[in-house]
Amino acid sequence: MAMSDRFLPLAHTPERATSETALTRAVLIAIALLFLAAVLFLPLVTVFMEALRKGWGTLFESFSDPDTLAAVRLTLIVAAIAVPFNAIVGLAASWAIAKFEFKGKNLLLTLIDLPFSISPVISGLVFVLLFGAQGWLGPWLVAHDIQIIFAVPGIVLATVLVTFPFVARELIPLMQSQGTSEEEAALMLGASGWYTFLHVTLPNVKWALLYGVLLCNARAMGEFGAVSVVSGHIRGLTNTMPLHIEILYNEYNFVGAFAVASLLACLALLTLLAKSLLEWRFSDELAATARRH
């Protein structure tokens, strides 16, 4: 990719890459745009329109509901724990997989992919079976007065499990393609392992890491299935934003439901905005290293 980027300015060829007529291209582009509008843009607009159906006053009123505020707070807390944890562990796992040879590497790779391939409901159920009152560790936990299921620790655990692959999956292919020669060069120049990691490995993957963290964050805030199983839906205590939206919707409180939904959408849009801002701020550096996402 680096090579092709660098040589792009030279590749001014007069011929077109395709032989389709202008009409065919226009139709194909129109279909793509219509599809995007219907599937991506329209739902987003609907969420905001529904939220504003009874005006700004009602919207802000539903935000001041203590249960809604508690749900927002809980979602932010869970993301604030799960995302840094997965960023650090995902980075460590990718580093080990991409830069070293060891037995059981393929098993580790499969395990990292597991949360993507199993249903989130099962991810949640696993924790109920482990830590629930009737679960393996249940009696011991009850005896020591530790609550995991139907409490914040369970929600954090379920979110961590479901969102684990995002950072690692983003980093492993990139790190593997970069190889180990820059690290070897750093070691030969007398750098310690930690210095090499901080000054060579990490800067080389920082954009992929950022991208992985943003995806992980979006999913951590939006996770429904696994969290729904372990949360117990206790209002004001163990309801995250997605769960709270469902409850409000089921109670026919459409404005309330869409108000929280619009807030969740705003958080997602903020995440994307943060990514774009960072890319814009460091565009010089990105161009210099010719690596883009």
């Binding site: 820059e182 750093a186 030969m188 120049l189 310690s192 550096e285 010719a290």
Partner: protein, 261 residues
């Protein structure tokens, strides 16, 4: 500063495949030695084992009187130039060359001012004055190669190791750089080993040449020694091209065509 390198019975296996079968080699202080051989002959493995990037399965590497195994990579102080240079893509030329000095522990790290003057000196030595603000992607192949060399020289290495130093360059740049490297070696006097598969390069550049095949050193000697007394049938066939050109050159009377191909 420069030390002799002694390799004693070095062995290395990759799985069941033997890459080095008891290799021994003596390189004197300040000498420029080529490791020459076809691909798969073990020359790069030998270089990496001397550097400490590969763990040998048996044998010994000595820098002067010191067993290399008793030294960490940092303590070995080896300047290594990688085949694809392995420059740090996200750093400027200046930061690349300064890396080895900045990575030192605080107690032995030079001041930023001292680092700066050292980096600028090295840039001057490799004839890249003024390019310190560039990134590696903004340099030509030959320039990158020289940055890699300056970076390796910055740590004041005991020994300089180069893996196919001209492998990634086009023929014209190779010839220029060859001459330039020869001059640089005469000026700095580092004990230098370089790996190559190009007979011309080895015979033109090195004080002595070690020819490897299938994990063994077949012959070590100066260009004249090898050409006059090839030790084995393999050497005989491997240097055939060079021997023929040398013979042709001797037959011709005009001295200025001797070096041309």
């Amino acid at each position: 500063m420069s030390v002799p390198v002694r390799v004693r019975n070095l062995e290395k296996n990759f799985g069941r495949y033997p890459a080095l079968k008891g290799v021994s080699l003596d390189v004197e202080a300040g000498e420029l030695v080529a490791l020459l051989g076809p691909s798969g002959s073990g020359k790069t493995t030998l270089l990496r084992a001397i550097a400490g990037l590969e763990q040998a399965d048996g044998g010994q590497v000595l820098f002067g009187d010191i067993d290399a195994n008793s030294l960490s990579l940092r303590e070995r102080r080896i300047g290594f130039v990688f085949q694809q240079y392995a420059l740090f893509k996200h750093m400027t030329v200046f930061d690349n060359i300064a890396f080895g000095l900045r990575a030192r522990p605080r107690s032995s790290r030079p001041s930023e001012a001292a680092i700066k003057s050292r980096v600028l000196d090295l840039l001057h030595l490799v004839q890249l004055d003024g390019l310190e603000v560039r990134y590696p992607a903004q340099l030509s192949g030959g320039q990158r190669q020289r940055v890699a060399l300056a970076r390796a020289l910055a740590i004041e290495p005991r020994v300089l190791l180069l893996d196919e130093p001209f492998g990634a360059l086009d023929a014209r740049v190779r010839k220029d750089l060859r001459k330039w490297l020869r001059e640089l070696h005469q000026r700095t006097g580092h004990t230098t080993l370089f790996v190559t598969h190009d007979q011309d390069e080895a015979f033109e550049l090195a004080d002595r040449i070690a020819i490897l095949d299938k994990g063994c050193i077949e012959q070590v000697g100066t260009a004249a020694e090898i050409l006059e007394h090839p030790a084995t049938p393999f050497i005989d066939s491997f240097i055939e091209g060079i021997a023929r050109r040398e013979a042709q050159a001797r037959d011709w009377t005009k001295p200025h065509v001797v070096a041309s191909r």
